[in-house]
């Protein structure tokens, strides 16, 4: 069982199957696998996505307060990001120099 933002939850089946049973719907063939679903799974996936969206809308009020607190420290966060990027470049450059 897999998930993506477009299809929601779906089933991934290896491409070696010659034909899918009839209860599999919305089948899309890829290079190595076939993405498909069942009617029951589609309705359950829709219910799961709806409950996620409901949870997200309730969460919105809570996180807006938190986000405004974080935004007041945005300059320190930018400094921290610059420091991390400098570390990353230093470490990567050092690794490259060691190889050459």
């Amino acid at each position: 069982m897999q998930f993506n933002n477009t299809r929601g939850f779906f089933i991934s089946v290896p491409n070696e199957l010659l034909s899918l049973p009839p209860y599999f719907v919305q089948a899309v063939q890829n290079k190595k696998s076939i993405y498909c679903s069942t009617l029951e799974m589609i309705s359950t996936s829709d219910r799961a996505m709806e409950s996620i969206n409901q949870a997200l809308s309730i969460t919105n009020d809570i996180i807006q307060t938190c986000l405004s607190q974080v935004r007041s420290h945005i300059d320190q966060l930018f400094n921290m990001t610059d420091a991390v990027v400098s570390d990353t470049f230093t470490a990567a450059d050092h690794k490259l120099n060691r190889r050459t």
């Binding site: 359950t44 949870a55 919105n60 809570i62 986000l67």
Partner: protein, 166 residues
Amino acid sequence: MINIRSQWQLFRTYNLLDRNNRSFADIAQCLGQFPDLDKMLSGLCYEPKSITANTVRTGIDALIFVKNAMTNSQHVAAVLGRLANSESPNSTQPLLNLLTESLENQQLKGLISELANTLEEKSTFKRITQEMRYEECFAIRSGVNGLLDIARKTFLQSVSEMEEVR
């Protein structure tokens, strides 16, 4: 124009990393655990005009990324501090000291405790979409809002039903 002093400090840092393989490995490991910092900063700077599931998701992701980044930055700062102090007491490492200072900002430590009151302790960023979706759903501490807990239970019930169908 090449700044000779900056290049010299960078060269000294490379030499120090060369002599301390373990610290280099620790730094590399810590840096690999950071989330997408561009996405984090853009999520913080973005104030949506209308509230949709995607905008809320962007906000939650930004908060989770901030929590993860600040926790990891403390680890990196600790390693850099040990590295800077590993040399003789008379030698100084201004580049490492500057980086340690930026990462160990005291005001950011206060922000970590504020986020800890809102977000679950175990919430962290995941690279796989499905796992990140779970993190977004369960990021906020339970007990804050009853309706939120009910929505989460419905989601878990739906996922377990799909597992049975599979």
